[in-house]
Amino acid sequence: MAAGKQINPAVLISTALVVLWLIVAAFPFMWTIWGSFKVQADFFSKADWTNALYGVFTAEDTGGPFTWRGYFGAWIQEEFWRAALNSFIVVFFTVIISLTFGTLGGYALARSGRNYAFWILMAALVFRAMPHITLVSGYLLPFFEWNIWGILPTTIIVLVAINQPFTLWMLHSFFLNIPKDLDESAMVDGCSRFEAFRRVIIPVMWPGVVTTGLFSFLLAYNDFTVTSLLLSEQNETMIPAIESFLGTTQVEGNVMFAVAAVVSATVPLFILILFFQRQIVSGLTAGAVKG
C-alpha cells in the first residue's frame, strides 16, 4: 500500500500513548526495587533525586552504593519471615480448598439444565459484588463469641467462601466447553456420575483449574480486608504486616523496612506473571468473551 511509506499520525499518536502507559506502569516498580537497596536519606531525598540513583548517603553510611539493611531489618529484626510463612499457609490451603469446592460445584452447574442452577449462578454474581468489608463486619462478633477469631483456619475458610462465587463462574464456563458426550458416554458404559467425573473429567480439566487457581492465589495473597481484621498479631500475613510496619516504623525512621517488605511481597507476583502470563490473560478474558 502507498500509505505504508508515510508516517501515519494516528499510528504515531497511539504508539506514543502505549509507550507513555508502559512507562507509567513500570517505572514505580523499578524505582522502588532500586530504592529498596538504599538508605532512607537517598530514597526519600528532597534535595536531589539523583541521590537515589547513585546512593550518595548509602555509600557514606555503609561503604557501598547498595545495602541490604532494609531487608535485614524487615526480615530478621521485625520478623517478617513469620508473616511470609503465615501467608504461605493461608494461600496454599485457600487455593487447594477453593479449587476442590469449585470444581465439584462448577461441574454440577455446567451439567444441570435446571432453573435452580441458574439461580445459584445469579446469587453467586450478587455475592461476588459484596464489598468484603461488609461481610467481615458480619463475622467479627460471632467469631469472638465462638472463640475462633485470630487463627489461621478461620481466615482460610472465610477466604475460600469469598473466593467461591468467582471460582464457580469461571469453572462453570470452563466445564461448559468440555463436551457433554465425554462424561455421558462413560455413564452409558456403567459409571456413576461421580465415577465419570473422576475418571473422565478430572484428567482433562487441568488447564481450567490452573487458570482458576491463579486467580484464587491472587485473591488470597492480595487480601488485606479479611486478614487484617480476622488475624491476631502473631498470626498476621504479609499484607497486614506491611500495614502495621507503617504505624511502627514511621516513628522510628525505619521506612526502609517497609519498602524492603513491599518489594519482597511483590517478587512472588512478578514470578507468577512471568510464568503464567498466558493463563492470566485467558482467565481475565474467559468470562468476557463468552458474554
Partner: protein, 343 residues
C-alpha cells in the same frame, strides 16, 4: 443431572457461601439494629464530716457482665441508621431549612461522616470507570498495531499494576508522591513551592487517589479489549477501507460496535470493584480528606478495643443497598433473558 446428585456436588460450595456470605449479611442486619451497652453507672452517697456528697462512677464489673451476657448490645431499632453518623435525617432537615443556596446545603451535608464517604466513593467510581474504559481501549488498539515481538512484553508490563496487591501498589505510588519522594519533590521544584504536598488539600488527595485507581484498573480493560480486538472480523474492515473509511470511522462504526458486549462486561466489573475502594485510602493515609464507605466500616471495626459493631453494621447494610442499585440493570437484563428463554 438428577437433583440428588447435583446436591452432593454443590454441597461444599453452597455450604461455604451460605455460612460465610449469606449469613453474615443477615448478621450485619441484626447488628445494625443494636447498639453497644452504655456503661453501668452507680451512684453512691458518701457522708463525711462536711455533709453528704453524691458521686457517680462506672461500675466496670457490671458493665463487663452485661457485655458478656448480651454481646449484641441493646436493641436500638432504626436509630443507628437515622442518627448523626449515618443518614443524619435530622441534620439534613435542619440544613435544608437553614441554608439559602443549594451549594451551601451540599457543603453542609459534606461535613456529615456518611455523606462525605458516600460522595468520595461515588465520585471515584464515576470518574475512574469511564477513564479506564476509554484509555484501556486506546491502549489496546495501540498495542494491537505494534509488531508481534513487543506485544508480549508490553502485556507483561501492563499486568503489573493490576495484579500487584492493592495495598502494596498504592504504597509504592504514595512513597513517590510523598513530599520527599521523587514525584513529590519534583513537583515542589517545578512549582517552586516547598510546602506543596499532594496530601495537603482535598482536591489533590482526591486527584491522587483517582490517578491510583486508573493506574490500578486500566490493565483489566486493556487486556479484555485487546483479546476482543483479535476477534474483530476482517471482511467488514476491508470493505470499509475500500469504500474509503478513515481509521476513525472504522473504529467508530465497526470496531466499537463489535466490542460493545465486552464494554458492558468491563463496566460491570469496574463498577463493582471501584465501589469498594478501600486500600489506597489506608496506604495514602488520606482519611483527613477522603474516606470511602468501605473505609468507614473498617474504621468502626478497628476502633481500638471497642469495635462499633452497630455502626459498622448500619454502614454495611447501606453499602449493600448501594451495590444492589449498581447491579440492578444487570440483574433485570439477566432476568428478562431468562424469562425470554423459557417462553
Amino acid at each position: 443431572m438428577p437433583t440428588r446428585t447435583f446436591l452432593w456436588f454443590v454441597l461444599p460450595t453452597l455450604t461455604a457461601m451460605i455460612l460465610f456470605i449469606a449469613l453474615p449479611i443477615v448478621s450485619v442486619i441484626i447488628q445494625s439494629l443494636h447498639i453497644e451497652h452504655e456503661q453501668v453507672l452507680v451512684t453512691t452517697e458518701s457522708c463525711g464530716p462536711f455533709g453528704c456528697e453524691e458521686t457517680t462512677r462506672v461500675d466496670l464489673e457490671a458493665t463487663e457482665v452485661l457485655r458478656a451476657e448480651r454481646p449484641l448490645g441493646q436493641f436500638n431499632g432504626m436509630n443507628t441508621y437515622l442518627g448523626r453518623s449515618h443518614l443524619a435525617v435530622q441534620e439534613l432537615r435542619e440544613a435544608w431549612a437553614t441554608t439559602e443556596t443549594f451549594g451551601e446545603f451540599l457543603s453542609r451535608i459534606y461535613n456529615l461522616k456518611f455523606y462525605r464517604a458516600l460522595s468520595f466513593t461515588l465520585v471515584y467510581t464515576a470518574v475512574v470507570t469511564p477513564f479506564v474504559l476509554v484509555l484501556g481501549l486506546a491502549i489496546a488498539i495501540g498495542v494491537n498495531q505494534l509488531p508481534r515481538v513487543v506485544r508480549g512484553p508490553s502485556i507483561f508490563v501492563s499486568l503489573l499494576p493490576f495484579l500487584v496487591t492493592p495495598l502494596v501498589g498504592s504504597l509504592i505510588l504514595f512513597w513517590m508522591v510523598d513530599g520527599d519522594g521523587i514525584i513529590g519533590a519534583t513537583l515542589q521544584w517545578l512549582f517552586d513551592d516547598p510546602s506543596l504536598s499532594l496530601k495537603a488539600s482535598a482536591g489533590l488527595t482526591w486527584g491522587t487517589l483517582i490517578f491510583y485507581g486508573i493506574w490500578h484498573t486500566l490493565p483489566f480493560s486493556f487486556i479484555v479489549f485487546y483479546a476482543g480486538l483479535q476477534t474483530v472480523p476482517t471482511d467488514p474492515l476491508e470493505a470499509a477501507r475500500i469504500d474509503g473509511a478513515s481509521a476513525w470511522q472504522q473504529l467508530r462504526h465497526i470496531i466499537v460496535p463489535h466490542l460493545m458486549p465486552l464494554v458492558a462486561f468491563v463496566t460491570l466489573m469496574l463498577l463493582m470493584d471501584n465501589f469498594r475502594v478501600f486500600e489506597p485510602i489506608v496506604s495514602f493515609s488520606a482519611e483527613a480528606h477522603a474516606t470511602s464507605l468501605s473505609w468507614i466500616i473498617f474504621n468502626d471495626l478497628r476502633e481500638s478495643g471497642n469495635p462499633l459493631h452497630g455502626s459498622a453494621g448500619a454502614t454495611s447494610v447501606l453499602t449493600i443497598i448501594g451495590v444492589v442499585f449498581l447491579l440492578m440493570p444487570v440483574l433485570i437484563r439477566t432476568w428478562r433473558d431468562f424469562k425470554g428463554r423459557r417462553v
